[in-house]
């Protein structure tokens, strides 16, 4: 009886957005009289930071600071349609809608500035610090603050834009299954190392090394939040979670956090994360959806590591100590 070490690998991809498309999101952008920008949506922030990333996308596109952008969302009386927050679609779909709306608003803003500076709108650029100036002549400049005031009070113009993003729905061909499930895919490869106690069946995750390719990390800190939490959830799925541990008997079913097992703060695995960026052609500034993909590769990587350690295959999730012990028992029985 001993602690045995093993290592396993898994590589996966994950589609961004609702399978087969047909999932619209819309956005509206307008400026306040003093040159702040309001983005109106009906999308839901589940905690992943949707509001923050949309503010950064809008700011990048218009050419202002992120703190000048306010996100008003999740209200069906004010926000234009969004299909919802699921299927790793938020950043990609809503982000694209925000870009389109912000571009339109930026165009009006530049037209107003052009009138003020008596130049052509096409000759103007933003400095990202709150000013618009003539390309190559930074002294010929007007602030966005003054531009917005002028639009509102002198020219009677609305610095605003409408955005919409829709991947057309694909209908699978009945006989062959020819279809377009997604426009872009995130990728991952995970190497897991485990110690398995062949007396108790207990698994200790020694290390998890995740490599994720996510298109573009629009806010690397928030990406890291998703990836760290996702990797934890993958481990949890692999080794702990089920609502019905002895199905069909339901009296063992977890009804609260004492009974429904997940790794706690004392069970977390040393985790390393590397992010690669291959921009998606149709992604907002290249981004794909990383939120779901990041919780998948740990599961098979751990299953493979456990096999590598003790030579038994558990082809049923979750891979509990009980299942490992039963398999080891069987292994010993056939060996004799």
């Amino acid at each position: 009886m001993a602690i045995r070490r093993g290592r396993g690998v898994a590589a996966v991809n994950y589609p961004t957005g609702m399978n087969l498309g047909g999932d619209p999101s819309q956005a509206l952008v307008h400026s306040t009289p003093t040159g702040n920008f309001m983005v109106t949506l009906s999308s839901v922030d589940l905690g992943q930071g949707l509001k923050q990333v949309m503010a950064q996308i809008c700011a990048e596109t218009i050419g202002v600071k992120t703190e000048q952008v306010i996100i008003d969302t999740a209200d069906t009386d004010t926000g234009p349609h969004c299909m919802g927050t699921f299927a790793s679609r938020g950043t990609h779909r809503i982000g694209n809608a925000v870009i389109q709306a912000a571009k339109e608003a930026r165009q009006v803003m530049l037209e107003v500035a052009a009138e003020a500076l008596e130049v052509d709108a096409g000759d103007l650029e933003t400095d990202g610090e709150g000013n618009i100036h003539v390309k190559g002549a930074p002294q010929k400049s007007i602030s966005i603050f003054d531009t917005a005031l002028m639009a509102h009070f002198k020219l009677g113009r609305s610095i605003s834009g409408r955005g919409m993003f829709l991947v057309p729905r694909s209908y699978p061909e009945v006989e062959t299954g020819a279809m377009k499930p997604s426009t872009c895919y995130a990728h991952a490869c995970t190497v897991a190392e485990v110690d398995v106690d062949d007396e108790t069946g207990e698994v200790t995750v020694v290390s998890i090394k995740n490599v994720f390719e996510i298109g573009r990390a629009l806010n690397p800190k928030m990406v890291e939040q998703q990836l760290v939490g996702g990797s934890w959830m993958g481990i949890s799925h692999a080794l702990y979670e089920t609502t019905e541990p002895y199905y069909p008997a339901r009296d063992h079913a977890g009804t609260d956090f004492n009974e429904y097992l997940m790794p706690g703060p004392g069970d977390i695995a040393p985790t390393e994360i590397v992010v690669l960026e291959r921009p998606a052609e149709d992604g907002p500034y290249g981004a794909k959806g990383p939120g779901e993909m990041c919780a998948n590769p740990q599961i098979p990587a751990l299953a493979n590591a456990i096999f590598d350690a003790v030579g038994v295959r558990i082809d049923m999730m979750p891979i509990t100590p009980e299942r490992i012990l039963r398999a080891l028992k069987e292994q010993r029985a056939t060996a004799h």
């Binding site: 009906s42 905690g47 299909m83 609502t243 493979n304 999730m317 979750p318």
Partner: protein, 454 residues
């Protein structure tokens, strides 16, 4: 976390100012001071509390429902049954034309899973609602139940859901979503080895810290404001509009920050009944799942059964892959017909295989209806696929990581669902994994690239 900037540097030409920066989240000061507002952080005078009476049986006919004792319980305002629901039969994906309607908001003649909602009690406190709910008497005739995929597909299995007519979803392509590419039989005939294996999973709960729920207020002008933690505002509004036969302009959904979703809040299970209750009583109504309901009643990630059959050559090439994927939808469709067919496109995995044959089924059983969860339609498939890859590599005596390089898809490769691969990055992920995990592979694999011809 490390950004490995060397990979694909030639493709990142845009210069970014506000993006690419780990700016602080604007919502976090609210989180750390307890000021962020979640839907349940509100109270209204006169608010009623809704409690569901749920089926204790997997499958049963409802002989009678006796509310008399419950109705007399102090604090009870009203008890709703299926007769109160204008359009009681629904299915959420009807909005994107994925029918048929197959689920009752409140059970009528039958219950099809343990936990199905039968009667909704409205009382002026949670206590009163719980106590009164315990006094609802329902007489059931227990029926034989079907508790797993194999039992459901057995020829003489009892029918779980009459609205489908058989224990599986019927796609336009038949009982399964099909992918047919190349000729798997020919592939198997040529293969040096064939490996067929079966994989299983058990349902998994999304387990967000904040349970599913909503609070509804009648606005006084025949409109209703519903504070909800749904993941999809208009999906909820439009489904509510159908179920209540109420024009959409009478409904106002307000979300906020949601205390975690993970796919668990895309079903429409609390809003329609709570809005109806507010309409019928003229009072604000809250319907918030207990922790028990969140863990055992709200739809989990489905149990799956996956059979993979692969033909592989001694040189490491997979020449044929056949897949039978079964998703246990439980008693009702919810999002499962969608999730099951998502697997059809996913199944060959991120590998280029010349002969692929996939059938994915959405199967009905008398289990808790399953629905979306983080990685919907893919998570369990990846478990099966990647364990199978490990077995195949060992079968031919090859390093599992090198085996994946040999089969990895690259730009331009045709996928089984007949889309050319674009934007591939699997090879680079594996190269970096080889480096960070000190898992060396032959130099030729480190020289590969996902680019066309790479």
């Amino acid at each position: 976390m490390k950004l490995a900037k060397d990979y694909f540097a030639d493709q990142r030409t845009e210069e970014l100012k506000e993006l690419g920066q780990g700016l602080q989240r604007s919502d976090v000061p609210g989180h750390v001071t307890g000021k962020t507002s979640y839907f349940a952080d509100r109270t209204f005078p006169g608010m009623l509390c809704l409690r569901m009476v749920r089926s204790p049986h997997h499958h049963a006919r409802i002989r009678s429902v006796d509310l008399s004792e419950a109705e007399r319980h102090p604090g009870v305002h009203r008890i709703l049954t299926h007769k109160d629901i204008p359009h009681n039969l629904y299915t959420i994906l009807i909005l994107i034309q994925v029918g048929p309607e197959d689920e009752h908001v409140l059970a009528e003649d039958k219950v099809r899973w343990k936990g199905e909602a039968v009667v909704a009690v409205l009382a002026d406190s949670e206590w009163a609602a719980n106590e009164a709910a315990a006094k609802v008497r329902i007489d059931y005739e227990v029926l034989p139940s079907v508790l797993d995929i194999d039992a459901a597909l057995a020829p003489d299995a009892p029918i779980v859901n009459e609205h489908h007519g058989q224990n599986h979803y019927m796609y336009d392509s038949g009982p399964s979503r099909k992918v047919r590419y190349g000729d798997v039989e020919k592939g198997f005939a040529e293969a040096d080895h064939i490996l067929e294996q079966t994989y299983y999973s058990s349902p998994i709960e999304q387990a967000p810290m904040e349970t599913t729920g909503c609070i509804v207020t009648p606005d006084g002008n025949d409109r209703f404001t519903c504070y909800t933690n749904t993941q999809a505002m208009f999906f909820t509004l439009d489904n509510t509009s159908i179920i209540l036969q109420m024009p959409g302009h009478k409904l106002h959904m307000v979300g906020g920050t949601v205390g975690g979703g993970f796919g668990g809040k895309v079903d429409v299970t609390v809003e329609p009944i709570a809005i109806l209750a507010a309409k019928l009583t003229g009072r604000p109504v809250s319907f918030i799942y207990s922790r028990y309901e969140e863990m055992q009643v709200s739809s989990p990630r489905a149990a799956e059964k996956i059979v993979l059959k692969d033909g592989v050559m001694n040189d490491g090439h997979i020449v044929a892959r056949q897949v039978w994927g079964y998703t246990d939808a439980g008693a009702y469709s919810r999002h499962s017909p969608y999730g099951a067919q998502k697997g059809a496109a996913h199944y060959p995995g991120p590998y280029t295989i010349p002969n692929v044959w996939v059938d994915t089924w959405c199967v009905y059983t008398n289990r808790t209806p399953s629905s979306a969860m983080r990685g919907f339609g893919v998570t369990i498939a990846d478990f099966a696929l990647e364990v199978q890859m490990d077995k195949l590599a060992r079968l031919i005596g090859m390093d599992p990581l090198e085996f994946r390089f040999i089969n990895a898809y690259r730009d331009g490769d045709m996928k089984a669902h007949r889309q050319p691969t674009t934007g591939a990055a699997l090879i680079e992920c594996m190269q970096e994994a080889s480096r960070v995990a000190s898992w060396p592979v032959a130099e030729k694999y480190m020289q590969m690239s996902s680019y066309k011809g790479g």
